[in-house]
């Protein structure tokens, strides 16, 4: 027994040692490091649940909805929670697939993160937010998920607001769309972070993007105690969400519809056209009344997550990239519509407004002949007639002579460049600053621009001048390209006479957007101020009170005398009756509503001509400017001008409708709405 007792003492000592070890370790964990674990524990236990604010609606100038909200039952999945499960959430997804009647593979695809090599369907948003996997869920399925949370851990069903577009495709590009906020966006927007909830969407384009902060509102915040499954045990504190502001725009839904319809007809007539745009501006305020672009798309594809197929289609060349608004991002040569700028430049440069100008059938510059369209020859005419009949040779001459005065190929140290500078004064060659993202600046070729271009391309051109284009299959084309490279290498910095000549009639390297052209005409026929156009008119609080009116900034006054502006306006007022658009306006009651305008037919290398018509009405006291551009539409007089005519008919209520009854004017007397609409408490009109 002694040996046994001895060994029992060893056991006893080991027990004492064990107790000491445990107590020391407990001291270390609970007393020494205790406060650190208290912090960790609080962090694990408390969650900030963001209650999303209702996004503000977007209304037209009369309070009619352009974008509104509709509620839908959405089922979302917390991927982080699923990943923590032993089977990676496979069982939960399988059950979910059964309840939602969505195939399991599709469900799995929708919750994986987008990234290199992973294309839609996938989740482009933050990995830490619940991923909506089904919208418009029937209430019974949603209830099943909510009631059997033990079967569906990490799955939630709740009512969410979704964007709704009562006018279908109308103004789709202008309104923009929403997409889940990405993790990097969340991190970048430190200050705004709290305003995004788990299912947060952010405006990605159009007005939704520009006015995102105002429309979004302020999300409510609930600090809650949760259990391991994320179930809320108690609510510690709560701040209610503040709904977003309502954006009232100057868009008139009726006019918008008229423009859309007119463009549809134009596109039908010209099946080869790859794009068109229509812009209606309020001359007095500089606000946008309507703006449309073709091709277009149905914005509902974004609601509830876009499918892979739809997304690819929207970005593809085949669909013509309908997300891109041709009205603000499409750059086209303006053709003769540009002559208002050239004429203004001629007068500002010292030519007489009341002088006579030679309009020969062709004008020869450096041995090359530049003819009028159709070889038209009118002899000595006034500037008025040159505009009405759109005589190119009058402007060729002026452009060439200005170029010569600046020193021709060897420019003076200080060049005047009247035509390019006037074009810039009209707002061409730079962004209008409209309240939309993705605007293009267009281009006005000047001597400085040419030199910049040369400096940036010289190295490549001179290299090609030496080595040629051995990778080109066609030898004669390669030889031509090599010659061109050599020419550009040697004298690419020279602003040639033909460039000045082309510029005078809005050809060559001149590119403008339809919106730029519209605001230039508005400045010409209005008060002479060049404005930065606005679509947003006012932000209204959800209770209907005015939060902020959105002003239209005046950039500056045109450097064109009132006399010249009036002269040009009067000349253009005769275009629909006696000028290039007479055919298009045959039968139009010009005695009731006098229309002014200018046709444009711009040549495009390798394509059909771009068809333009820039117009204003009433011609004597213009209230509205309308510009229509149809790419590959042929003559301005044959495609764009009839499209504009249809728009004026709709706005002024002229002509007959589909059922042969007189149509109601969209804007009686062409007067846009001047007072903000009254909005009731619930945010509807």
């Amino acid at each position: 027994m002694t040996r046994l007792r001895g060994r029992l003492i060893v056991l006893q000592v080991m027990v004492i040692a064990m107790i000491v070890v445990l107590v020391v370790r407990l001291w270390q964990v609970q007393v020494v490091q205790g406060s650190r674990f208290v912090t960790v524990a609080t962090e694990t236990r408390t969650r900030e649940v963001r209650v999303p604010a209702l996004r503000g609606a977007i209304l037209d100038s009369s309070g009619r909805p352009l974008v509104r909200n509709r509620t839908t039952l959405v089922v979302s999945v917390d991927r982080g929670r699923l990943e923590r499960m032993p089977d990676g959430g496979a069982a939960v997804l399988r059950r979910l697939s059964g309840v939602l009647k969505v195939p399991l593979p599709k469900l799995k695809m929708e919750i994986r993160a987008c990234g290199p090599g992973v294309s839609r369907p996938c989740w482009p948003g933050s990995p830490y937010t619940p991923i909506p996997v089904a919208t418009n869920v029937n209430p019974r399925a949603a209830l099943q998920i909510l009631e059997r949370q033990e079967d569906f851990p990490g799955v939630t069903a709740d009512i969410q607001a979704m964007r709704d577009y009562p006018n279908g495709r109308d103004a789709a590009q202008l309104l923009g769309y929403l997409q889940p906020v990405t993790q990097s966006e969340l991190e970048k927007r430190e200050g705004l972070k709290a305003n995004y909830s788990g299912v947060d969407l952010t405006g990605r384009d159009g007005l939704e993007r520009t006015y995102d902060a105002a429309l979004r509102g302020t999300a409510g915040l609930r600090a809650v105690q949760v259990d391991r499954m994320g179930k809320v045990i108690t609510v510690d504190q709560q701040s209610d969400p503040v709904p977003g502001d309502i954006l009232v725009t100057s868009i008139d839904a009726k006019v918008q519809r008229i423009v859309e319809k007119s463009l549809d007809q134009a596109m039908q007539e010209i099946p080869n056209s790859d794009g068109a745009a229509g812009v209606v501006l309020d001359v007095k305020t500089g606000r946008v009344i309507a703006m449309a672009s073709r091709p277009n798309y149905d914005p509902r594809v974004w609601t509830g997550g876009i499918t892979e197929k739809d997304y690819r289609r929207l970005l593809s060349d085949k669909s013509g990239k309908p997300l891109v608004s041709r009205a603000i991002a499409g750059e086209y040569a303006p053709g003769s519509t540009f002559k208002i700028s050239s004429a203004s430049a001629m007068i500002a440069d010292g030519e007489s407004l009341h002088g006579t100008f030679q309009c020969p059938g062709a004008y020869t510059v450096e041995g090359r002949s530049y003819p009028n369209a159709g070889g038209m020859s009118l002899g000595a005419i006034s500037l008025h007639e040159a505009l009405v009949k759109s005589c190119d040779t009058v402007f060729y001459r002026a452009g060439y002579e200005e170029w010569l005065r600046d020193g021709g190929k060897t420019p003076k140290s200080k060049v005047k460049e009247p035509m390019p500078n006037m074009a810039k004064a009209y707002g061409f060659g730079r962004r209008t600053g409209i309240d939309l993202p993705g605007e293009s600046p267009g281009r006005i070729p000047t001597r400085a621009w040419k030199l910049d271009l040369y400096n940036s391309t010289r190295a490549e051109m001179c290299r090609r001048a030496k080595i040629g284009y051995p990778e080109m299959k066609n030898e004669s084309r390669a030889a031509f390209a090599k010659r061109l490279a050599n020419e550009n290498c040697l004298e690419g910095m020279i602003f040639h006479a033909y460039e000045a000549v082309n510029l005078s009639i809005g050809q060559g390297d001149v590119l403008v957007t339809p919106l730029q052209l519209a605001r230039a005409y508005a400045a010409l026929v209005g008060d002479g101020n060049v404005r930065s156009p606005r679509i947003g008119w006012a932000l209204m609080r959800p209770d209907g009170t005015l939060h902020k009116e959105i002003p239209v900034p005046v950039e500056y006054h045109l450097p064109v005398s009132d006399e010249t502006r009036t002269y040009i306006r009067k000349a253009l007022s005769e275009v629909p009756s006696d000028g290039t658009a007479a055919g298009a306006f045959r039968g139009f009651p010009l005695n009731i509503v006098k229309i002014g305008g200018k046709t444009g037919t711009a040549e495009v290398y390798g394509k059909e001509d771009t068809s333009w018509f820039a117009s204003f009405a009433p011609a004597d006291n213009p209230r509205l400017v309308t510009v229509v551009m149809v790419a590959q539409g042929g003559f301005g007089a044959s495609t764009a001008a009839p499209a504009v005519r249809r728009i004026w008919e709709g706005i002024f209520g002229l002509g007959k409708g589909d059922n042969n009854k007189p149509i109601q004017p969209a804007l009686p007397d062409g007067k846009p709405v001047t007072r903000l609409p009254a909005i009731s408490r619930d945010g509807t009109q």
């Binding site: 046994l4 056991l11 006893q12 027990v15 107590v23 370790r25 609970q30 490091q33 923590r84």
Partner: protein, 390 residues
């Protein structure tokens, strides 16, 4: 009623409460510690399960109390009985336990809380044969090793030592098939402790330890452990290896205990407990509830109470007069000590995560009965190893 019966009744009453009776000679410190732990355990089970059902927050606590009452009845019966009958029936008990362990592996076995170690006996009751195996093995081994060697009265017979290893191997093997690494380790510890206590030569002890190390390395390197079992060990060395899996449990346990600080958040006021961040917190991880809600003071009290039981047990082992009693008492102490170390240790990050309950505190009927019987045997040994009259 006959005279004899009356006398018998009188003598029973006298034996119970008369001078020098059982009640007065009992090890009250041991029983007191057991009762105190049972009360604490009930409160902790209550606290950790009250959120399960809003209708009946005390359902689990009530079941635990019933288990305790049955356990105390067992305790009383065993404590006052002549425990030596257990020695006689040890082989039968061992056989019963083995049948139970085999049944677990048949379709009769069922899985509760991720452990496949239960047999449903109907009426919502379930038995855990591996918990029964622990005391049974103590008795069986003590019986075999109590028989001294013929050459040296202080050493066991070599053949019996070998037989012990076989008996343990069979039981442990069945448990490993469930699989339950924790209980297997407990059985190995019991066996090792009793063999060492029984007086085998030191060189055999050293050889045994070396063999265990080699076996351990072999099991590890041959990949006989399941990946999750390996993960439990690696997570101990580096909790950041698997923060969502095993590391999660060990991390959450540490956070819950640590956040209790010196005095705890108060019973029923542990946020981590209420949020059920620690898994199995009414059974294997019940110590985290003590740590969070009762603080350092409370957890040390729990450890101290367990210490009282273990040290009283060791004292009883040292003071008894025969090898069988001493080995049984020593075996019980080794068993409960190892479970205490592993259970508390895993919650404070010094032991791997294994499914071993905390004696007298964790919820679980079979374990409660086994523990109660074990201390009852200690008590019985205590009662019989002292002279009747002081």
């Amino acid at each position: 009623m006959t005279e004899a019966m009356r006398v018998g009744r009188g003598s029973l009453a006298r034996r119970a409460i008369g001078r020098g009776a059982v009640v007065w000679r009992m090890d009250w410190l041991l029983l007191g510690a057991v009762l105190a732990l049972s009360v604490v355990g009930t409160l902790l089970v209550w606290s950790s399960t009250r959120t399960w059902s809003s209708i009946e927050p005390t359902a689990m606590a009530k079941k635990h109390v019933i288990n305790l009452l049955i356990g105390l009845a067992l305790y009383s019966a065993v404590a006052v009985s002549d425990y030596r009958w257990l020695r006689t029936y040890a082989p039968v008990l061992y056989a019963v336990a083995l049948v139970g362990l085999v049944l677990v592996l048949t379709p009769m076995g069922s899985t509760i809380n991720g452990h496949h170690s239960w047999i449903m006996v109907g009426g919502g009751f379930a038995v855990q044969p591996d918990e029964l195996a622990k005391p049974v093995l103590v008795l069986m081994l003590a019986r075999l090793l109590a028989r001294p060697s013929e050459r040296d009265k202080d050493r066991p017979r070599a053949l019996n030592v070998a037989l012990c290893l076989v008996l343990t191997g069979v039981a442990a093997g069945l448990i490993m098939l469930e699989p339950d690494l924790g209980t297997t380790m407990v059985l190995a510890t019991i066996t090792g402790a009793i063999i060492v206590l029984s007086g085998v030569r030191k060189r055999w002890v050293v050889a045994g330890i070396l063999l265990a190390v080699v076996a351990g390395v072999a099991v590890w390197s041959l990949g006989l452990l399941k990946p999750y079992q390996v993960a439990r060990f690696t997570a101990l060395l580096d909790p950041s290896t698997d923060p969502r899996g095993v590391g999660y449990n060990s991390r959450q346990a540490l956070v819950a205990i640590g956040s209790g600080e010196l005095f705890g958040k108060g019973l029923f006021h542990g946020g981590q407990t209420t949020g059920r961040f620690v898994p199995e917190q009414h059974t294997d991880f019940i110590f985290t509830v003590a740590g969070e809600e009762l603080g350092f003071v409370g957890s040390v009290a729990v450890v101290a109470l367990l210490g009282v039981i273990l040290l009283r047990g060791a004292r009883i082992a040292r003071t008894c007069n025969d090898r069988f009693s001493a080995l049984v008492a020593g075996g019980v102490v080794a068993w409960l000590a190892f479970q205490t170390l592993v259970n508390v240790g895993m919650t404070i990050g010094i032991m791997p995560i294994t499914g071993v309950p905390l004696p007298f505190v964790s919820y679980g009927g079979t374990a409660t009965f086994a523990n109660m019987t074990a201390v009852a045997v200690l008590q019985a040994i205590h009662l019989r190893s002292r002279p009747f009259s002081s």
